[in-house]
Symmetry: C2
Subunit: 96 residues, 2 copies
DNA sequence: TAAAGTAGTTTATAATATAAACCAAATTTT
DNA sequence: AAAATTTGGTTTATATTATAAACTACTTTA
């Protein structure tokens, strides 16, 4: 009847992060913070979870002298997102 | 950019309950439990939250001698659900 | 060099979801 | 008819989660 909603994606901020990353090659921490409107602390935690799940890659480098964290979605992440959307459909119908 | 996801609806079980109630005139506790696969305890709690939010009505009566709880979605509940779906679209695109 | 800003992380707290335990009445079994 | 089981739930305890606040480390500006 209802498909299970991947709890890692069924989170407002993590879903927003994934949504942004789906539409760009890569995005840095600041960009993600701006796009999602999240606090840095919350974003930091959620990025970590997505990375540990293998849904995104996280690279820490420097832009000049300032730290810069760059994120990108993985193929696994894309698949998980697609499955999540498919599962949602079982709750919502094609009406979405 | 991203619309807020009503936290009352952004819950797997509550969303499932709302989804069932959208498709029927009314449904009793047992039917909802069967359709959602939830435990009775969890369902009881989530029904309570939906009722307190004004998204469903809950009537407690008897079927013969056995207690029977009947739920139905309210107009407010329908609207909230529709808004939730619209908000989801901002995360998911029309792809849903 | 002091103050303020940047880019984050860690930690504490509050809210949530969930199942386990429980309850009362009805039904079934022995 | 007593005991055991089932039904239809509710309450409570626990574990997880989301979130912001506080903090760290470094850089830029005044």
């Amino acid at each position: 009847m209802f498909k299970e909603l991947n709890p890692l994606l069924h989170s407002e901020l993590r879903l927003a992060v994934m949504s942004v990353l789906l539409s760009v090659e890569s995005a840095d921490f600041v960009f993600l913070r701006e796009q999602t409107g999240a606090t840095a602390g919350n974003l930091s935690v959620q990025i970590d979870k997505l990375q540990k799940a293998g849904y995104i890659t996280v690279e820490k480098g420097f832009k000049g002298k300032m730290p810069r964290t760059t994120c990108a979605i993985t193929q696994e992440g894309v698949s998980a997102f697609e499955e999540y959307v498919a599962a949602l459909r079982s709750y919502i119908g094609k009406g979405l």
